[in-house]
């Protein structure tokens, strides 16, 4: 029983991280068909923001706000100058553009901060572990699960309860008709990039608190996790992102718990194997609907 509770908590905290990553990615896919491989680059840049701010000894709450603001600004910048010009281009063009953006942001990081891995200082309290009977629970895990729920609730509220959310959903379904009704699709696009950036900032703080370091090449891991999660769950839907993120978290937690140590290095390969297996059975993901390929 204790083992099981431990397992669920671990799965939930890892899954929340992946679900948040997936939400930021799926939002852009929904609105403009963009699979943003540069998403992870936002996260490493958040790491460098923390590194740069470290000597100032600012209170962590302020650092957190600045990191989220930086991620939002970077997301808007990339959206405005790299992706918006290609808004009616085929998905492949957008995807290649996102590779280009990821490379550029990585190269800029190397130029400014070097190849070496940097330590990202985070408040020690996040590492505190509570023992409830035999169950171990870290502050970071609790914060992650709470943040995941808050991001989900916030995004849901934005999309379902606000005018801009309504416009985002309308543009996601049929941008031409939305514009014809007076919706400024470009502006809606930028709102989606802003929301995606805020989520990237929040998840970056949690991701960095867990890894403790940042390096220019570290953008790949979060990008892949988010990508696996949205493909697993179904592209372009909120439910798909959450389901995919949680399933991936559950899967990784079970691997960590039950896989023999000698096989732990295959974890990544097994995760991709899961994606292939799921797609063979359900080509549009676990929570996805079947859609026309031609669109």
């Amino acid at each position: 029983m204790t083992n099981f509770v431990q397992f669920v908590l671990d799965a939930l905290s890892v899954g929340s991280t992946y679900a948040m990553l997936a939400l930021g990615l799926t939002l852009l896919f929904g609105v403009m068909g963009l699979v943003n491989f540069a998403y992870g680059a936002l996260i490493i840049w958040c790491g460098y923001v923390v590194v740069v701010l470290a000597p100032l000894n600012l209170p962590f709450a302020l650092v957190a706000v600045l990191v989220i603001a930086a991620a939002t600004a970077l997301s808007l910048l990339v959206g405005q100058f790299a992706f918006r010009p290609f808004k009616s281009a085929p998905p492949l063009t957008l995807m290649l553009t996102s590779f280009g953006v990821a490379m550029a942001l990585q190269a800029l990081a190397i130029l400014l901060f070097g190849q070496a891995t940097r330590v990202v200082p985070m408040p020690a309290v996040l590492g505190t572990v509570w023992h409830l009977g035999e169950v171990r629970l870290s502050v970071l895990q609790v914060v992650t699960i709470v943040a995941g729920a808050a991001v989900l609730a916030g995004l849901y509220g934005l999309l379902q309860r606000t005018t801009i959310g309504l416009q985002i959903r309308a543009v996601a379904e049929d941008a031409e008709i939305a514009s014809q009704m007076g919706v400024r699709a470009d502006r809606v696009l930028m709102w989606a990039f802003a929301a995606s950036g805020v989520i990237a900032g929040i998840v970056a703080l949690l991701w960095l608190a867990k890894t403790g370091t940042v390096s220019p090449g570290a953008f790949l891991a979060p990008t892949f996790k988010a990508f696996i999660a949205i493909v697993l769950g179904g592209l372009g839907s909120i439910r798909g992102a959450v389901v995919g993120g949680l399933v991936l978290g559950l899967f990784e937690a079970s691997l960590a718990t039950y896989l023999p140590d000698s096989m732990l290095s295959y974890q990544q390969a097994i995760a991709f194997g899961l994606v292939i297996a799921v797609l063979l059975v359900r080509p549009s993901g676990i929570a996805g609907r079947l859609v026309e390929v031609s669109k």
Partner: protein
């Protein structure tokens, strides 16, 4: 001053022209019907007026203002409403949300409290025309029948209180009884003084309903005039059936 003036408009897709040198003027309160066979350029013409397809050459004036360079979202704010081909209901949105999106242009014209009041009025107006819409407000747009979707598409376009309503094949794919309902509704709107352009492939409904008619063929204007003149012109059949239609057609 005419409400809308299109002057030798040419446009198309990629490098191929779909509409060439088309001109028309419509006075306030008039209804123009555009008819012609499949591929005549009717939908392209609607897209050129609504703004989703920029003109390659020519000029479009609306209420005395040159709107040639404006995109669809700005033309909507000016007062151009569209009920598109195939209805294009946003199926993931509810009926009410579809109507709210339709009111976007209205809210951009008039912001704040006054804007909200106008949206409330628009809902009242639309619910008066379509009482069933209020009952289905929370239903997802995708669950409506074809006829209901057509009505919703018209209602959505009316939400912005347009000065000009563009209707692209409003009878497409509907049962004859429903088509009668649609045209009864359009007649009511016409009675209220709404200016409209109606595109139809079939001739009967649109010709009975409009003031002016334009027959398109191969992207060009083939015939243009009052509906009475067009109805009696044997050449109407040519774009549909070819030149021999004149000899085989009207016995005169």
């Amino acid at each position: 001053m005419s409400l809308i003036e299109l002057d030798s408009a040419t446009t198309g897709y990629g490098k191929s022209r779909a509409v060439e040198e088309v001109s028309f003027t419509i006075e306030q309160g008039e209804v123009l019907c555009v008819i012609g066979p499949n591929g005549a350029g009717k939908t392209t013409l609607i897209r050129a007026v609504s703004g989703s397809l920029p003109l390659w050459s020519g000029r479009l004036a609306f209420a005395g203002r040159d709107i040639t360079g404006l995109g669809p979202e700005e033309r909507a704010v000016c007062g151009v409403g569209l009920c598109p081909e195939g209805r294009r209901i946003l199926s993931s949105l509810t009926v009410r949300e579809n109507l709210l999106i339709g009111a976007t242009a209205l809210q951009r014209r008039c912001r704040g409290r006054e804007g909200r009041r106008l949206v409330g009025e628009a809902f009242e107006r639309v619910h008066e025309l379509f009482p069933w819409l209020a009952a289905r407000a929370a239903a997802s747009g995708g669950t409506l029948s074809g006829g209901q979707q057509q009505m919703l598409a018209i209602a959505r376009a009316l939400m912005s209180n347009p000065a000009l309503l563009l209707l692209d094949e409003p009878s497409l794919g509907l049962a004859p009884r429903i088509i009668d309902d649609v045209y009864a509704l359009l007649a009511k709107l016409r009675g209220g003084g709404l200016t409209m352009i109606v595109v139809e492939e079939g001739t009967s409904h649109a010709l009975n309903f409009a003031d002016k008619a334009m027959v398109m063929h191969g992207g060009r204007v083939f015939l243009q005039g009052t509906v009475a003149a067009i109805r009696d012109d044997p050449r109407v059949a040519v774009p549909y059936l070819g030149e021999e239609a004149i000899i085989a057609g009207a016995p005169r």
